[in-house]
Symmetry: C2
Subunit: 308 residues, 2 copies
């Protein structure tokens, strides 16, 4: 399948989803409302993740879809992914400035130039608020920490691919501890992820992957990430067999966040971290692709896994 | 209670919530993570709203926490509330611009100036994406439409009052139809809202209210809104008896959105709209305030209403 075929397959699937009422267009590529049925699939999958991960006793934290800008600046996200980040800006003027804003808006000019950056930025990945939160609690206990998060995330990458949304939801488990604790967590979830998604009757593969680092220097970072097998993805074909979509990811950050946030293990070492992320919309889109748009007619074993 | 007492009561309650682990500070006023228990209360209240409203057969739509900027510009929100809006901006430069961004960041200079407005803005109220969506479907059916939404909303108003968050969740029912249909909907929910919140064992009052319109011209709009009784709020004391907190709101927009979006009733008239909004965090904060931080020890009737 060449690039054009791939793009037209994405557009065709998006159109089908819209026609079926599962996605609600908003006039912006990658920004969609969802129907009640779409949401129910997301909720049922979310509950399934809890079934597989719940016994581990993770601490539940739920953050809004934005971060403290100061923490974001310290996170080094801007080094690697400046093109994906979203900063939230606001009007800071008086009534005179307000009249000028409205005049520009009415005349079709750019009124956004005078907007001023606020203290918050869009959350780029659900785990970002967790590291400063864990750091603020002081050294880790012996057993390390395990956190459960779920958040809307923003990435500025408008696309007609329904599986590449600008705003999407990510559930994550995040492990913080010694290298051994963290590697064991990732191995466990690589196995669980395969079993869990297998129970949903979708074709899947797990492969080494890399993040979309920016620029030429980014190519080196990507290669390094692959060579060291720091990132794996669980891939499911949605609009292409050749380029299946990453629906889960398994990330080992080594001591990157431990260093950045000065998180220490019980014995004083720099903490290592890993996370497993579940792309909620992507999993729903994969299920609709493989089992059809009417959940009542999904295969009985899949319905039983999701609806019990 | 004077202003200083009121502010210190807000700060005291926020500190208590943080100490109890219900809110997780992020270093920004009005931006908090929530514990699993806080979230469970939000989820149970959300389910209670469905118990009261579910039989009406509303169409469920779930939008992400951002809007098409074009629709937002057309909504006239910037006329009334420019100070509360949040626009999402992104980096649009090349590798050279990226180096400059990183240099500024490192030197502690403002790196946000060159961020460029994207096509999306933060959702200011959960109902905003609904009007263009309904408009796109053409004239209303005889019975009008009833929509059920739930969304994170952003308002740029940093505050130490835990009940005034910058990012918070709002569930809404939105009625679109003839003036009679819409007024009947609002009357129904004024009654239901009082009964439903009464069943949660919190002191409450319903009163005429106004939105926080910007500037001197805004004062006139506020007065007009009050004179015409277009907005009611269900108030519950959280950190102040004298200034109770609006936890639900009941809004009649007359034909404002119908005109803006050209929504027509079945007989060709301009549609009227109304909505009832449930402030999810505020209701949770009111429940924690009046029943304590340990939900297991809440009064049995309240537990029974929420947990069945």
């Amino acid at each position: 399948m060449n690039m054009i075929d791939s793009v037209s397959a994405q557009e065709a699937y998006r159109d089908e989803l819209v026609a079926a009422g599962l996605l609600i267009p908003t006039g912006v590529d990658g920004l969609y409302g969802r129907s009640g049925m779409f949401e129910e699939v997301v909720e049922r999958f979310d509950a399934l993740v809890t079934v597989w991960g719940g016994a581990d006793g993770a601490e539940v934290m739920r953050f809004p879809p934005a971060l403290n800008r100061k923490y974001f600046e310290e996170s080094e996200y801007l080094k690697s992914f400046p093109h994906l980040a979203g900063t939230i800006h606001s009007f800071a003027g008086d009534e005179r400035a307000h009249r000028s804003l409205l005049r520009r808006l009415e005349e079709g000019q750019d009124w956004t130039e005078d907007q001023v950056a606020t203290d918050v930025v869009m959350t780029p990945a659900a785990c970002y608020p967790v590291y400063p939160t864990v750091a603020a609690r002081g050294p880790l206990p012996e057993e390390g920490r395990l956190i459960d998060v779920f958040s809307y995330c923003f990435r500025h990458e408008p696309s007609i691919d329904p599986a590449r949304m600008q705003l999407f939801r990510m559930r994550e488990y995040i492990r913080v501890g010694t290298p051994e604790q963290v590697m064991e967590f990732r191995e466990t979830w690589l196995r669980r992820g395969r079993e869990m998604m297998g129970s949903l009757g979708v074709p899947l593969d797990i492969d080494v992957a890399n993040d979309p680092f920016f620029g030429r220097a980014g190519t080196m970072l990507s290669n390094n990430q692959r060579d060291q097998k720091l990132k794996f993805e669980l891939l499911i074909p949605i609009t292409s067999e050749e380029k299946p979509t990453a629906c889960l990811s398994f990330n080992y950050h080594q001591d990157h966040f431990g260093h950045l946030w000065d998180i220490k293990t019980a014995d004083g070492g720099v903490a290592h971290t890993a996370c497993v992320g579940f792309g909620m919309e992507r999993v729903a889109l994969a299920l609709f692709r493989h089992h059809g748009f009417d959940v009542a007619r999904w295969p009985a074993p899949v319905r039983s896994v999701l609806w019990g």
